[in-house]
Amino acid sequence: MVSKIDNALSFQSQALGLRAQRQQLLAGNIANADTPNYKARDFDFSTALKAAVAGRSNGSLALHTSAAGHIRTSTDAIPARLMYRVPTQSSADGNTVEMDVERAQFSENAIHYEAGLTFITHQIRTMMSAIQGQ
C-alpha cells in the first residue's frame, strides 16, 4: 500500500528534485556572470527526467569508483550530461554567461517548480478525498 502511494508520487518528486538541481545550476551561472573564463552550464531537463524515471544515471559526471581510496564525487549526481551553453554574443574575457538567457531560464524553471508543487498537492488532495470518501 505504501509503495503504491510512493509510486504515485515518485514521478513528480523526481521532477521536483531535478528542477531544484537545475535552479541551483542556474543560480551558479548568474553568480558567475562577472567571472573571467567561466562557462555557463545547463542540462537538458527532459533527458534528465527520462533517465531519472528509468532509474539510470548514464552520462552523469559522477566518477566511477572501484577502490576504497578513490574519491567519491557528488552523491546526488544529475542523471544527465552537463552541457555548456552556446553564447550568442561572446565576451572578451571568455565568460559565456548571458544574463537575459540565464534570468529567463531561471524564471521558467521556478515556475515549473511551482507547477510541480501544485501537481503534487492536487495528487495528495485526490488521494485524501478517495481515502475519506466524503
Partner: protein, 134 residues
C-alpha cells in the same frame, strides 16, 4: 536538499560583488590622491573573481580570488604649484579611470540586485515546498 545551496551561491555572489563595490568606492575616493602612505600616488585596486565549487555539487559559486593593483601608468598633470610636482612642474596622479569605475559600479550593483532576486525566488520556492500537500 539542493535548493538550500542556492542561498550559499547567491550569498557568496553578494559578498563578492560587495567587495567589488568596496574597491570601486576606494578607487573613486582616491581618484586625486597624489600621495599615499608610501609617498607614491594611489594605485587603482581591481578584484579578480573566481568560480568555486559549492560542497560537491555541480553548480559553482563565486569568490574573490585576489585584489590586484592596476598596473597601468598614472596620469601626468602639469601643476607647478603643487608641492608634489617634479622639477618640470608635472604631478603624477593615480591611475584611476573614473569612467571605468562608474561602469564597474553599475555592473556590480546590477549583479548584486540580480543575486538578491535569485535568493528571493529560492526562498519563495522553499516556502511553497513547506506548504506541500495542504
Amino acid at each position: 536538499m539542493s535548493m538550500f545551496s542556492v542561498f550559499n551561491i547567491a550569498g557568496g555572489a553578494l559578498t563578492a560583488q560587495g567587495i567589488r563595490l568596496n574597491a570601486v568606492a576606494s578607487n573613486l575616493a582616491n581618484a586625486d590622491s597624489v600621495a599615499g602612505p608610501d609617498g607614491k600616488p594611489y594605485r587603482a585596486k581591481q578584484v579578480v573573481f573566481e568560480a568555486t565549487p559549492v560542497n560537491g555539487q555541480a553548480a559553482q559559486g563565486v569568490r574573490v580570488r585576489q585584489v590586484v593593483e592596476d598596473a597601468s601608468p598614472g596620469r601626468r598633470v602639469y601643476d607647478p604649484r603643487n608641492p608634489a610636482a617634479d622639477e618640470k612642474g608635472y604631478v603624477m596622479m593615480p591611475n584611476v579611470s573614473v569612467v571605468d569605475e562608474m561602469v564597474n559600479m553599475i555592473s556590480a550593483s546590477r549583479s548584486y540586485q540580480t543575486n538578491a532576486d535569485v535568493m528571493n525566488t529560492a526562498k519563495q520556492l522553499l516556502l511553497r515546498t513547506l506548504t506541500l500537500g495542504q
